[in-house]
Subunit: 117 residues, 2 copies
């Protein structure tokens, strides 16, 4: 199995987080994950994008420390590293969350409405 | 006189701020400006960098809305748009300030010690 690299909490650098979040599509993915509040399947989260594009965005988010990707069989699941980021750079995720509502994909909207039901 | 473009407060976009702050040198310039707390001459602020490199960084910071550049004769002065940024994206500048002490240039260190005297 391919090992996915994640920076340790104390290796997360603010400039790398800023870089990861400077792309509108990646910012949108993070806003959606924050709104959903739980781990999401990469398949459903990336349904609106070309697979290679979405994979690239997830890699940048993961390598900067914004997200954690978990592999289970042939599936991947992604989550925001909220606890670690809130400890290390308090206010960053609030800023992202407050900056606008996510434009959810259909699957994400369904997951969100299920989570709120 | 060449007109320097600055985005209006309501045109400032979070992803553009993140992009501007994703470069270590630019992040450092902003940290230094925050620490100094007042408008600085571009000549003294950029003394540690090649002039063209520093000009480019100042352009990116200005066009994203992080800083305001004022031209006076042949001199340029730069300041962080703190009031506007704190209204529009509260927490962003705190995050930058808290992320580490600035590694000041000699001129900036002198200005800082003068400001604190």
């Amino acid at each position: 199995m391919r090992v996915l690299l994640h920076p340790a909490e104390d290796e997360i650098r603010l400039e790398n987080l800023f870089h990861a979040l400077s792309d509108p599509a990646r910012l949108e993915v993070v806003r959606t994950l924050i709104a959903l509040g739980s781990e999401q399947s990469c398949n459903s989260l990336g349904e609106a994008m070309a697979k290679s594009t979405f994979s690239h965005h997830l890699k940048v988010l993961r390598e900067s420390g914004v997200t954690r990707t978990r592999v289970s069989g042939t599936h991947r699941y992604v989550t925001v590293r909220s606890d670690e980021l809130n400890r290390r750079f308090p206010g960053l995720l609030d800023l992202v969350e407050r900056s606008g509502p996510p434009t959810l994909t259909e699957a994400a909207a369904a997951a969100l409405s299920a989570a709120r039901a």
